[in-house]
Symmetry: C3
Subunit: 661 residues, 3 copies
């Protein structure tokens, strides 16, 4: 066994001559894993009562015969044209209230009984047919679940979901605070999906009733989860063991992946970073995906070998970058490295998307050569990394509910975006080299010395107590402005801000200023001064020590940054939108206290992670994300699993040290 | 009697313990006036045939028992959920043609018979119930009327409105100039509301037929006025005397407040300036509101004590600013100073909106302390300002028809915005300290020495004659580019520009240039040079004296600014988009001629106004809008009604001098 | 005979007194040609079964009596209100799926049987009535055809169009590459118009299926062409000879004018450049329009004498510019110079559009005086230019299919716009003074020494062979990045890029980088260095000589610009988004080789064209587009047909030299 290598493959688009060419090139590139059938519904069910697996049989048989492993998709990510024509209910109604007709993909209403029945039946038949095939090593349900629907079927589903959640209209009215603006609901049927035609203006983030919108986000995530679960159950009827997954999208707002994770046998995701300056962001996404299943390895289900097509501007991955990012995935827990796509399509909207094999079918392109070289390298490495875990003592909390609640709020500032805050804190941790887990607010915190919870807007359940326990036993908890504001229904706590976190943090916040991005208030911390922007909470210490104070404006001298002694540990509160240097200063204090700085905290473009293999080996991954060579001061003793001088990394260089401990 | 102090209060959202806490805090802050019931329709009519005033009774009784004065709202600004479900006709159809379902507020179709019947019935029943209560000192009908509806009921209402206006289709066709683009209407039913589905593209300002769009704006304003009048009439059935108002929004385009004003017993408005650098703009809005009822005092119905919530960025009012802006309202004619809101809501879209009492219910916040201090100050002042009038000899014309006509025109420049022009001229008057009235074009002009009419695009009735009369008897009239262009149907005058104003102004304009904002043409006036932007009319004097000429481009040397001797006075024409310095130069000439400069024309951030009380006392208000202290050269002899050195104002300082005359 | 002079005239909007005034002013300005009836459908057919030509008779009779020539419009560019009310099918459904109601103009669904029947009937009746009138010298069908409709009638029309094009669903599925995303169509009725409700997101350029969108663009252009052809056929029933046209809009994307051209008897177009710095762009548009009919003279059907109204900012044409641009039209092949509009409308959306006669009806305005002066000049010139041709040896290929295909593609860059590329290459040709034809990709290439084909994305038919033949016989062919990518169905060629052009160009392209506009990669060419932006193809020479190489980034040293010897000529490939200087360098090499530089290649603002009259005379037009005087080094011997020193051009000056050859 080794790291799976390959990707999305759609031979149904091609003639047999091309298949033959493909497999020759796959051998040349050490391709051993193929994801097939992702958009084959129209092929496998060409009409209402007709199923035809001829072509898919041929694909699976051929791949199996060549020794390839197959990740078999149910193909339900796009419904066939005949289905939309025969049952208009299967298409979605969008946020603007417009009923769509047939087109695109990811186009099915999750509440449609017809869609649910037929997609499940497709999964059932596929499992019946291919369950016994040893080449099939995983099931891939649907594709990149997401978007939303606002049709009447979803309205009915929403009401049913609400009935289960609240039991009574009086509970619902209380949760949604409907006395405001005369909104008291006296019948379930009065409730409408929150859209441009009801509670919203300007767009999906501007709502008159946060509670309604928040619940609809939760409902829609659950409704699609039900679609996934339908198909998984149907697969399990014939195939009790082969793992089932679906491809997630990393930092994707519409779906609460934490609520989905229990139903996946392993996580997998598609890595399309917004630009080529995103190594920290990719690391965050990898860690979030790994955290979905308690640290269990995941698959990198898709990445482009070269270019994307869907952006306004699609830059080319420079030499070495595809390899570097592939190893980064492994460094963060990937057991498979897969591409979209194996061969470039001729037509439609992804014909210019990068592929291992281009339109001309050449093996002598730069891209193919790099893919083949990485294939050889992965083969040489073998299976040592498989099943390895990350021994993190730092946790970063990530919470879809806080994300949603924060960004659909009116006030204090639309410019404060959840991901911006989270990625800023993560970047500081990443720069300083801490091994970290990204976890849900419901995850156990016992194993961590440091818990960072940026913009923890919503406090649910016993979270405040568990955070306090971390500090009490000597750990450090860091949180920020706009934390501890609302309960699980997005109703403000009727206490001082930061609500249930007040005791842990030893502060109170009565007021806050919000400003345009051009406005800067400096924060003095000891001898240093940092900039802060966007949001400025006026922190009133209630026992906490003042670490930083504002220097500008009428609240100059007011606390902006505090640290509270709590038990044997600390509760930090960052009340201002500190800049990168400021955040790095705070995080460094905390990591140093716990001895958790990485080996190269001052080499900003060098990333390291540690993985511990099932047999207890410790692997140190060293990745140079810079375009310049880097000399390392030292590396731990051990065997180098990749070629190259361990102390001198070339641009985009990668090393793996099998540490002697 | 004294200035009313308090604001919007929604105890129906809270439990009795909280009520108790509220009233203790109200006492502490000298709160004597509460606006209640603004969004209680769902509470008072929980179903089609069910009325329930239990909670409202309790609120009113409690407030009355505590000696508070009540501004009682009819609560019809948002309809209940059951109503929208039972009668879908009550919800609006938007400009895009989308029928809305239940949600938000200000959501009722003004033409819906069901809405009209039930909202009127609600007002009727409230009046029947509370008319005799001496604590009820005013009725507050609906809330912030505005928006628009484009449904079929409104289409029918529009056709009826047109029939009354035009009598015949041939008159209508002539008014709308329908021969253009084959638009002749041969049946009333062919007429559609002008929307994105009919005459418009890009948005509400881009129309193929200005006449249709203009009339729809007038109709929609009238339709909502009818809603207001319905409710007022129903109140008057039981309560013949208590004054009735609704809260206006200042410089708000969709509603022609001049057409509404006769039906209000006093004006009131909600002051939410776009930013904290808007003292002149607020002054303009105050004066506009005061001018609605011929100078009669108005109420400041809402302002935030601290922050708004609906903006992208919601900055915090700094210490002293809430007090300063409250006194500014009084300086311009307010008899009440009220907040939105007394207690912060827990949930929904205004939970982060500032409030006198925050979520924690504290009295020791900065905001509460400032509110309480102002309460004490207002109590100490007593009733001296009540009923006082502003003795202005300068009038600024403000005209919704010109606003609409200018901004829905194709050409010459979409960048020339009515409010920009008006606020620029007002700012010059404000900076120079002139006491002024902002009045409708139909208001008598006899009492004024100076009439400023920026962008007076449309000339209706005898306006040109009345303006000429001002100049003839020795006054000064100032108008600008794009004035005198169209008649009341937005049809161009078939004469030289500026149409009926030509004789008064002694100029003719055949052509004009429009340019992007980066382009500047300098205008030389004597030894000074000013910049002009956006629009450049080539002014051909026909008797007028040239005061300023363009310096740039092929029309260098052409007149840009003229003054015409007319009778004993002057008609000024400003053909170019002059900068602030240029406008101030022009306005200063005029004010100096009439001896109407304020006491501190060179102290840009010091505002003054004079009010004359019913007993003839003259009160001079002095307000320092700057963040620095200011020394005044002198102040009139008199008693200082607020503490502090009259000659040395602290930042945001306020003085009131009871002048000895 | 002489150049027609006049324009759009709508006396139906006016009373007889005004008509009289108009005709007196027309005489004063040498106006001899009037376009009448452009929006008269509501006038000529006031009801379902009522036709009334009384007013139109009067207009035609009066004009004829005064000796004016008439371009008679069918008036079907806007349908009457009664028609939309009685037959809602005639209004369009927009891209967002919204059915429109009555409003605007250009508002008819092209597939509506009712619209087709009644518009055709109108043309038939007009022709029956006015065919014999010698004053009627041309028919003007509809007006500025364009926009699109997405209604069910168009859906049905689209399916019929597809059936004719593809014959079978299997052909259609192959052409559209429907295996991708499960899109296989199994019944024609499953096919929907590609809109915001089906295949599109973000807007008309973002589609899941390029093939569907491309075919809908073709269908919609054909559907409107059918409308035009309907009317033309109806005219031909009574009038077999008078030429028929419609007014095009130059560089207008929605309509493939090359497919329309065979059905026009002469081309005509409306020239409203985006700003006053567009002489090259106007030249391109003139040449494109002339190229539609193989070089046959066209009419300038509309231009404004002064200002437009529909822009956000509508600048004024400075003195001399209207004359200059009128002569530019003639220099490029116009046989008529017409204005929109003769008299300014009083109301609606064009009341501020410039006109020969303004609202006041004056003859002493600058604009009228310039119009009259040009009228005198045209009269003095007489008929010498009529029917003249342009003797170009340079061809610029212009292709609506490539335009559409390029701009609806996902990847590599949305920022690369077809017109930007074409206008950049054209500008280089224009600056260097080459006489050129702008032609369709189907036009014969035999007569050209140089063929420039920027962004020739789609290669159809025998185009590659014909381009090769140009080079083979010694010519030069220039093409660029993103050429040779797709076949006529927008499917990628399964060969190396640039597909069928590879042999001619001697290069291969495996990969390309796309970047934001701020990124610059320099390209070294000999001793010079040019900037390139947006798109960077990595050109691998396969026989071609490398002329320029990238200087930056990891592909520094890679070829960016190549020239291939092919037969006796050259195939140039420009792989980078070169700046203006770079393009000019390339074009200059090529023009110099063929001796085709214009007389003043270094005088950037001086434009020249040559026209050869039917009797073989050669006329050299010299136009100074600059605001400064220019001295010419020399002019060819000949007679000056316009006044002024031939060697010294005033700002905006024009000369015509009747060359002695």
């Amino acid at each position: 066994m080794k790291i799976g290598y390959g990707g999305d493959y759609n031979p149904e688009q091609w003639l047999p001559e091309v298949w033959k060419q493909d497999f020759r090139l796959f051998d040349e590139a050490h391709i051993d894993t193929l994801t097939v059938g992702v958009f084959t519904w129209g092929l496998t069910q060409p009409g209402p009562d007709v199923y035809d697996f001829t072509v898919l049989d041929r694909i699976v048989d051929r791949a199996a015969a060549e020794g390839r492993r197959i990740c078999l998709a149910t193909g339900t990510g796009a419904h066939p044209a005949w289905l939309a024509k025969q049952h208009p209910e299967v298409t979605r109604t969008d946020f603007e209230g417009r009923k769509h007709r047939y087109g695109q993909r990811h186009n099915s209403c999750p509440s449609s009984p017809v869609f649910r029945r037929l997609s499940t039946e497709m999964a059932r038949r596929l499992a019946q047919r291919y369950a016994g095939n040893p080449a099939v090593i995983a099931w891939h349900v649907g594709n990149e679940y997401g978007g939303a629907c606002y049709c009447d079927l979803c309205a009915a589903g929403f009401r049913e979901w609400l009935r289960l959640r609240y039991g009574s209209l009086s509970s619902l009215n209380a949760a949604w605070y409907t006395t405001f603006w005369s909104h008291t609901f006296t019948d379930w049927d009065q409730i409408e999906p929150p859209s441009a035609l009801t509670e919203h203006w300007r767009g999906p983030d501007h709502t008159a009733f946060q509670g309604i919108t928040l619940d609809y986000l939760r409902f829609m995530s659950d409704a699609m989860l039900a679609n996934y679960r339908d198909e998984k159950s149907a697969i399990r009827e014939s195939d009790p063991r082969t793992p089932v997954t679906t491809n997630f999208m990393g930092l994707y707002r519409p779906i609460d992946y934490h609520r989905w994770a229990p139903y996946l046998d392993f996580a997998s995701w598609d890595n399309y970073p917004p630009d080529d300056r995103s190594p920290a962001r990719m690391a965050l996404a990898h860690d979030l995906m790994r955290g979905l299943k308690d640290g269990q390895p995941f698959w990198l289900m898709e990445q482009t070998p070269s270019v994307t097509a869907c952006r306004d501007v699609n830059p080319l991955k420079r030499p070495g970058v595809m390899r570097l990012w592939s190893w980064q995935a492994v460094a963060h827990g990937a057991d498979a490295v897969l591409f979209f796509q194996m061969r470039a399509g001729r037509g439609a909207s992804e014909k210019y998307h990068g592929a291992v094999i281009g339109h001309a079918g050449r093996a002598d392109t730069r891209v193919f050569r790099e893919v083949a070289a990485l294939g050889a390298e992965l083969s040489a490495l073998g299976g040592i990394t498989l099943g390895a875990r990350t021994p993190a003592r730092v946790a970063l909390l990530f919470d879809w509910d806080s994300w949603w609640a924060l960004e659909i709020s009116d006030g204090p500032s639309r410019l404060v975006r959840y991901l911006d805050v989270v990625t800023a804190y993560h970047r500081a941790l990443w720069t300083l080299g801490a091994d970290l887990d990204v976890i849900a607010v419901t995850a156990p915190l016992d194993g961590y010395d440091v818990v960072v919870a940026p913009a923890l807007h919503m406090i649910k359940g016993d979270l405040a107590e568990r955070l306090s326990a971390v500090a009490f036993r000597g750990g450090s908890v860091i949180t920020t402005f706009l934390s501890g504001r609302v309960d699980e229904n997005d109703n403000a706590f009727l206490t001082d801000v930061p609500g249930p976190l007040g005791e842990l943090l030893g502060v109170r916040v009565d007021e806050w200023d919000a400003r345009e991005p051009v406005y800067v208030n400096r924060v003095r911390v000891g001898d240093a001064t940092f900039q802060s922007r966007l949001l400025f909470e006026l922190v009133l210490p209630q026992g906490a020590e003042v670490v930083g104070r504002y220097e500008e404006d009428w609240y100059a001298g007011t606390a902006a940054l505090t640290r509270n002694d709590f038990g044997a540990g600390h509760g930090w509160y960052v009340g201002a939108g500190l800049d990168c240097a400021g955040l790095t200063w705070v995080i460094r204090q905390v990591l140093e206290r716990h001895g958790l700085l990485g080996p190269y905290p001052d080499l900003g473009e060098v990333e390291t992670t540690v993985r511990v293999t099932p047999d207890g080996s410790r692997l140190l991954f060293i990745l140079n994300h810079g375009s310049s060579p880097v000399d390392l001061p030292a590396v731990p003793a051990g065997d180098a699993l990749l070629p190259g001088d361990p102390l001198a990394l070339e641009p985009y260089g990668v090393r793996i040290i099998h540490m002697i401990t």
